[in-house]
Structures are given as C-alpha cells and as structure tokens.
C-alpha cells in the first residue's frame, strides 16, 4: 500500500494532535512559526529599505514632478544643487498622470514644481488650479512674452519646432510651402506622420484651428489622412527612418529627433540622416499663411501649495541661464527660449526660421477640440 503526501500529513497531524491535545490548544510548532516570522520580518525590512530616505520638508530643497525624462533633467538638477546648495527630490512620469496626482493630492502635495514638455499640459494644470502665479523679474525679462503664460502661471524653458523633414532628391524644397499645402494631391501616398494620440500632433492641429478655423482644419486633416503613405504608428524617429528608407517622402516631426539622428554615434543613423533635410513651412506669404513654424515649449510652473517657493523660483531662474539654455540645445537639440542664448552647431545647420507667435495658452484650452476633430477625420 502506497501512501501519498496527503495521507502522510493527515496521519502526522492525527498523531500529533492526540499527543498534544491534553496540554491545551497549543499545536504550534515553534519551527514552523519561525518560517512565517522570518518571511514577514523580511517583508518589513524590504519595505523599510524601500522607503525614501530623503526628507522633503527641509528648507533648502525643491520637490519636483517632472514629465521631462530623468535623463534630460537630472544632470541639470545636479548642477543646480552644486551651484546653489539647494537639494532636490524628483519624480518623473507622464504629464497627465502627474497632473492627476497633483490634483488628487490637493493641498497635501509635496511638489513645488511641475515640469512638462508641452504648453498644453501646463495650461491644463493652470486650469485645474494646481499652479500659482509668480511675479519674477528675471523670468519675465529673459523669456519672450509669447513663450510664457500671460497670467504668470507657467514659463517656457525650451522650444521645440514641429516641421517638415523631406527626402533629398525625391522632393525639391521649392515644391514645399505650408502645412496647408500638404493636402495637395501631389503628395498622395508620400506623407508620414505619427498617430493623432501624440500631443505634438494635437498641438499642431490646435495651431491650425487658430489660424484657419475648425471647419477648414477638419477638411485639411481629412486631406492629410488621404495623403498618408502608411497607417500612423511608431514615434517621430520611426517617421524619419521611413523617409530615409523611401517609404514616404515627407515627415512631420519635432526637429530634435532629427538632430539626434545627425549626432548619433551609430554609422547607420548618420547615413540615414544624410538623406534628409529640414524645411521650414509658412515662412512667407500673406497674413495667416506667413505665421511661421509651429513651436511648442517645454516649461514649468510653481504649484499652488508649494512649500519651497523661493527655492523653486531659483530653480526656474536657473533653467533660463545661458548655460542651461545651451545645455538643452546641445544635449537634446532644443531651441532656447532666451533669444540671446547660444545654440548648438546642429541647430545652426538647420538655418534660421520664423516661429508662429501663437499664444500657447490655446494649446491647452483647445486640445480636446483638436482630438475630436482628428477622430472625425479618421486620423488614427
């Protein structure tokens, strides 16, 4: 007769229970107890280790919620700490998630500064009532008016231009003119743009609605979709690769992705970049047509319930020093917001351009309108 494990244990318990029961209700084996205890003490220990060591209530510190990725903000913050002695605590994440967190935390929030990579989200934060107005001479002097909030709730830190990159040889720059012209039948099956879920596309559409009205823009979006060479997917870099590989001839992208491709240490990327060139649309022409290239900003605002307002202002001022502005240009090929700040060689090679002076506040207020318009036009 073979016993299986279940029978064996049942037998063991039966015999033990008989033996122990007279002594009372104690059938705890100290050895087994130890096992469970050690598991829970491990648990307690690991939670203790995971708890943040830094305190965020001190005086000389600034707490940051940042939608700018760690790699593109941390080096700057470390330099800030070294220069000013003001420490920092950082959480990075997606702007929408962090904004939601700010909203829910309300007056309990530890965050002093909210950083995003587009003006639309800053405006949304302002509308949600989680930012406060800041009067700061340095910021107001250095940042041009159209790149900061008119009510002083947020300030642009770097500019990002969304423009056309075309395939040299297959497209002559003379053929290109405006965003509006991209719906011309001659571009059929020649355009590459990422999906409409992307905030930069949404902002671009807002700027078009501002210039031409909603009806015309919806017609434009439908025409654009009709000229797509492929279904929108992937990121801006993927669109550039598609143009380089010949799957399409023109891509609408943010310039820094192109800059990154040029400066890549991979031979393959450089070869691809060789085949591409920048075109700045809407430079001349009458009225709205000559409004300039669509630009967005990355920027920051001080939270309504910030406890370290002075330190936070110092950080904002630090972001617009020539040195920091140059750093953005060099590390990520973004354009400075401070007109006098130097730009990188790569950016110089793109040539100068006229930017759309659209007040970026509308990017936030009209974003939903743009998304619904893109839904209707079939822009996936």
């Amino acid at each position: 007769m073979k016993f299986n494990a279940q029978d064996k244990i049942a037998y063991k318990i039966a015999s033990r229970a008989k033996r122990r029961l007279p002594e009372g209700r104690d059938y705890k084996s100290s050895k087994k107890r130890g096992g469970v205890l050690s598991i829970f003490s491990f648990l307690a220990l690991s939670i203790a280790l995971l708890l943040p060591q830094a305190s965020f209530a001190e005086e000389d510190i600034v707490n940051i919620y940042s939608a700018r990725k760690e790699a593109l903000i941390l080096p700057l913050l470390e330099r800030f700490e070294k220069e000013t002695g003001i420490g920092f605590n950082l959480v990075t994440g997606k702007a929408d998630g962090l904004l939601k967190r700010l909203e829910i935390e309300g007056d309990m929030t530890p965050a002093d500064i909210f950083i995003t990579v587009d003006a639309g989200r800053l405006q949304r934060a302002k509308d949600a009532g989680v930012l406060q107005a800041i009067s700061n001479e340095v910021l107001e002097k250095r940042i041009p008016a159209h790149l900061r909030d008119k009510d002083k709730f947020w300030f642009g830190m770097s500019q990002r231009a969304r423009t056309m990159i075309y395939a040299k040889g297959r497209v002559k720059p003379e053929e290109l003119s405006t965003y509006e012209d991209l719906v011309d039948p001659k571009w059929e099956k020649r355009l590459c743009v990422r999906s409409s879920g992307n905030i930069y596309n949404q902002s671009l559409v807002v700027s078009l609605i501002e210039a031409n009205g909603e009806e015309a823009t919806e017609k434009w979006a439908k025409g654009l979709v009709a000229n797509f060479a492929k279904k929108p997917a992937g990121g801006d870099t993927d669109q550039l690769k598609a143009v380089a590989a010949g799957a399409c001839d023109i891509a609408l992208v943010n310039t820094y992705y192109f800059g990154r491709m040029i400066n890549s240490n991979k031979e393959k990327d450089k070869q691809m970049a060789e085949k591409l060139a920048v075109f700045w649309p809407n430079q001349g022409g009458q009225g709205k047509e000559g409004r300039g290239v669509h630009v967005n900003v990355s920027g920051a605002g001080i939270t309504k319930h910030a406890t370290h307002i002075k330190a936070a202002q110092k950080l904002l001022e630090f972001f617009v020093t020539d040195e920091s502005q140059k750093w953005y240009a060099e590390v990520n090929n973004e354009y400075p917001v401070v007109p006098s700040a130097p730009i990188s060689e790569t950016l110089k090679s793109f040539g100068e351009f006229k930017a759309d002076k659209l007040n970026l506040t509308v990017l936030g207020t009209n974003n939903g309108k743009a998304v619904r318009l893109m839904d209707r036009s079939g822009w996936k």
């Binding site: 087994k32 491990f42 943040p52 707490n63 760690e70 309300g106 007056d107 879920g197 939903g368």
Partner: protein, 560 residues
C-alpha cells in the same frame, strides 16, 4: 484504506448573516479593500453620459470593441495552440531535449510585452536589418515588395501571444502531470490511440486549468497599453487614455473603463463556470511514473520544432536583439545607479509578491471555508484588478488614499497640532497596494487551483482532530501546496518586475524601477539605450521562472 472522493457539494448558503463568523467577516473585508480601486472607477457608470460619450459612440466605440475582440480572439488561438501542444509534448512524450524545453518554454514570461514589441519592430520594420538585407540582395525599392507590417493588429496578436502563452503552458502542464495516468491507460486499453486519448481524456480533464491560464492571458491582453499604443491600434485601453488625457474628460474615460470591466467580468464568469462544471480531485492515489510516449524520426523532429519555435521567437530572438543593443550602448547606460535600481526593483517585487500571496491565501481559504455567494462575488470583484490598466488602478487608489491622508492630517492638526502630510499616497505603501490589487487575480487563481486539489476530507480530518481553521491552513494546506504557493509568489514577482503604468504615477520621490527606466528611454525613442534595463528585467525574471518550472515538475509524485 480505500481512497474516497467527496463529490457531494455542500449546500450553497445565501444568508451568511445567520452565523457571523470571523472568517466570513475577514474575507469580505479584505475583498472589499482590494476592490476599492475598481469600485471607485466602476462608480463612474452612475454618472450621466455627456457629449464626449456621444462622440465616442459615433466615431470610436465600435472600433475599440471590435479591435479588443479581435485581439482577444487572436491571442486565444495563439496561446492555446502554443501552450497546450507544448505542455502535452513535454509532459507526455519523449523526444530530444524534452527536459530542457520544459523550462525554456517558460522564459518568454520574463519579457514584458511592450519590450518584445520594440525589439520586433527594430528587427522587422523597413529600416531594420531583415528588410534592409532583403533590399540589398534583390535590389528592390521599398515600395516594390510586400512585407508583413509588424505594427498592425496581427503583429500585436503575435507579440502578446508570444509572451502570454506560458500562462497556458504552465497551467496545462501542471494539470497533465497531475492527472492520474490510470485514466489515460484505461483509455488506451479500450482501444483509443494516443491522440484520441489526448482529446477525449487528458484535454477534458485539464480543461479547468487551461481555461484559468487562458483567462489570465486574456486579462493581460485587455490591460495591455504599451504594445497597442506603440502599434497604433485603437482598443479600450488606448481609448481610455485618449479620452482621459487627450480630451481631458475623466468621467467618460472611467465610463469606458467600466464598460471594459463588463468584458472582464464575463471572462471571470467563464473561468468559474468551467471550473465548477469539472470539479475533480484526483480519483486515484496512484502516481506511477509517466511512461512517456517515445517519439521517433520525423515525429520527434516535429515535436522538437514545435517546442523550439515559441522559445525562439518568444525569447531567444528578442533577447539577442536586446543583447546586441546593450553592447552598443553599455558604456552610457550602466553605472552605479543602475545596480541600486536593480536591487530596488527586486526588493519591491519580493515584498509585493509576499503580500499578494498572503492575501490570496486568506481569500481563497475563506471562500473554501464558507461557500457563500457573497464571498464568491467579493473575491471575483477583488480579482478584476488584473484586467484594468495600471493607470486606472493608480487613480482609483490615489483618490481614496488622498482622502484618508487629508482626513488624518486635519484630525492630527486639530488634536495634536502635528501635520502628518501624505502617509499612504505618494509612498511605497501605495505602490505595494497597487501591485497587490493589480496582481491579486494571478495569486488567487494559482492558490485556488492548488486548494481545489486538496480533498475536503482533509479539512474535516484536521478539524475533527481539534485544529482551528487557521491551523488547518497552516499545518495541512500550506505544506501540501508548497509548490502552488511558490508558483503564485513567482508569478506575482515577475509581473511586478514588468509593471509600468501604476509605478509611473504612484512612485515616491527619487524612486526608480527597471521598468520605469526602460520605458523612459524607449518613450524618448532611444530604443537601444532602453535595452540595458529591459534585458535586466529579463535576467532578474529568468531565475524565478526556472524555479517555477522546477516547482511544477516536482508537483507530481514520482516525477523528477
């Protein structure tokens, strides 16, 4: 001593309040706390529909539903075919490298779906090595030939199937190994072929386990955001994000999420129903060593190939691509902070898995003790979290937590003049809670299937000897289900390693995980730089996966 099987079901009690009991109260309380985030989201269904819902219905809803259904259907076919066939081959047949395959087949579990999507896009899109080489060889231009587009719904089905089939494989293999060989042998003596025996005996016996694996895979499919977003496919999850953040309408987004929960609930019901219809504890206590069917020649090769392909495409190829990227970027991406990041992630995953499994044990055992519908419904709702996108869970957690924090803070201020600040939200506590809610289904499923195999007579025997219910759990069930508990722990561990959206929103200051690091670089379109943390997730995940495989093999008496 004649082995007995208790098949008579105890009567289902509807009114548990007749006899209030510590276990009932505890189980319902825990289930309620765990359901809290899902209920917070689900409550949006009672809000009036606004014009954004109209817009959604008019332009997008049909697409979301159809795409989600196609995705689920495709993934079902993918994971079932890969999972069941390989499970059968490795447990019942003998062919070269069988034992090696038995654990290699689990490895894709360690790769997050969005990572495999990135690697295949890198390999297969027109700028990737395969198409470039093709063009160089043939001299074709890019528009001269047709090549399957990775970034499509078919691609998404393939990606998700490749990383999710191990759930089915694992469950099916455990079921096949645990089946008494007697039934199968009896079918052979009655003249059925091995194949026939598989379809008519083994498969029906293993069906509950297979459906459990399938429902886990499908819940992950529904909750997936990274893959479908990267591929530009409109599903419930992408729709929720678009409505919430693009249009800025949290209410409509929650309503969409609540609608998705209906899908999930159907899945859970399907799983329950399948398990209820086939409730069997092993009828025979004899566990003779499986006499594996010896495959020879062409058949052996086919079996070998059938096991190789999922491993090759689900693990080896993507891992190689990652490794290649790591070599090109290692200097910049590996520094001191990288190792503390790894340690951090591992500790977090371990702590979360212990918590989730402890709670799952209490819930599953509470349900076993008191078969009331109230408890059953409570446990089911608590398991919904697995199919809800992490971001939605995160918001569902932050809302009540911030409320508690704020109440606590004002109370402390009023009475003691101390400001407590954020205690629950914005700390590791919130993060661990989120992981528990999100992955409770995985551990509950594993534990319930383990508990289900223990005959109820064991409980009766234990109780009649004077053990309390808790002591029965601790002294009888836990030792018997050691393998199961380990399985549950490891599954949650691997899932937490890969978790991204909830971590992104809930993590405290200066706190990073491997998945977050990988995501940040990948989202910045620096795929090659993202490879180092991604590969580390895979490496950290492999060890538990191998342990898992051993646990399953050893779950069968007489199996080495």
């Amino acid at each position: 001593m004649k082995p007995q099987t208790l098949t008579a079901k105890p009567p289902v009690k509807f009114f548990i309040f007749k006899k209030p009991n510590r276990w009932v109260i505890l189980t319902i309380l825990i289930a309620l706390i765990m359901s809290l985030p899902v209920l917070v989201v689900g409550s949006a269904i009672f809000q009036p529909l606004n014009e954004n819902w109209q817009h959604l219905k008019e332009f997008l809803l049909a697409e979301y539903i159809i795409n989600s259904l196609i995705l689920m259907l495709g993934v079902s076919v993918g994971v079932l075919s890969m999972g069941v066939i390989t499970a059968w081959l490795t447990s019942m047949c003998e062919f070269p490298h069988r034992r090696l395959f038995s654990w290699l087949l689990l490895l894709p579990l360690a790769i997050p779906a969005y990572i495999i999507a990135y690697t295949y896009t890198g390999l297969l899109d027109f700028a990737g090595p395969i198409q470039t080489t093709l063009r160089e060889w043939t001299g074709w231009g890019i528009r001269d030939y047709w090549f399957p587009e990775v970034r499509s719904i078919g691609g998404a089905i393939a990606m998700l199937s490749l990383v999710l089939y191990p759930y089915v494989y694992m469950m099916a293999r455990a079921a096949f190994l645990e089946q008494s060989i007697g039934a199968l042998e009896a079918s052979r003596t009655l003249g059925s072929t091995p194949l026939n025996g598989f379809f008519r005996v083994a498969l029906p016996l293993a069906r509950p386990a297979i459906v459990t694996g399938l429902s886990l895979a499908l819940m992950e499919t529904l909750a997936d955001f990274g893959t479908v977003q990267y591929f530009g496919i409109g599903t419930f999850t992408t729709g929720i994000f678009r409505t919430w953040f693009g249009v800025g309408d949290g209410t409509t987004a929650s309503q969409l999420a609540a609608m998705m929960l209906v899908f999930v609930f159907a899945l859970i019901m399907l799983e329950r129903w399948s398990r209820k219809r086939a409730k069997f504890h092993n009828t025979s206590q004899k566990h003779s060593v499986i006499k594996r069917f010896q495959l020879k020649g062409k058949m052996a090769f086919l079996a070998w190939l059938a096991c190789l392909l999922p491993v090759l495409f689900g693990f080896i190829l993507p891992a190689l691509q990652l490794l290649y990227w790591v070599f090109t970027t290692a200097e910049e991406t590996i520094d001191a902070s990288f190792f503390s990041l790894t340690l951090n992630t591992m500790l977090l995953a371990m702590a979360a898995s212990i918590i989730a499994v402890s709670i799952a044990l209490l819930l599953a055992y509470g349900r076993r003790l008191h078969k009331s519908q109230l408890i059953g419904a409570g446990v089911s709702i608590a398991s919904l979290g697995y199919a809800v996108p992490g971001t939605v869970i995160a918001v569902g957690i932050m809302t009540p937590f911030a409320f508690i924090d704020s109440a606590l803070n004002s109370w402390m201020k009023a009475n003691f003049d101390i400001s407590t600040g954020l205690i629950f939200s914005g700390t590791v506590f919130a993060l661990l809670f989120a992981y528990t809610v999100r992955f409770l289904a995985v551990s509950v499923n594993a534990i319930e299937s383990g508990l289900g195999k223990i005959k109820p007579t064991m409980d009766d025997a234990g109780r009649s000897m004077g053990l309390t219910p808790l002591a029965v759990l601790r002294k009888i069930h836990l030792p018997l289900m050691r393998g199961t508990v380990l399985t549950a722990l490891l599954l949650v561990f691997v899932d937490v390693l890969k978790e991204l959206p909830a971590t992104l929103i809930l993590r405290p200051f200066n706190f990073n995980t491997l998945a977050v690091r990988a995501h940040e670089l990948a989202a910045d379109e620096r795929l090659a730089d993202a490879a180092t943390p991604a590969l580390m997730i895979v490496l950290v995940g492999i060890l538990p996966v191998i342990l898992l495989s051993r646990a399953i093999s050893h779950s069968r008496a007489g199996e080495q």
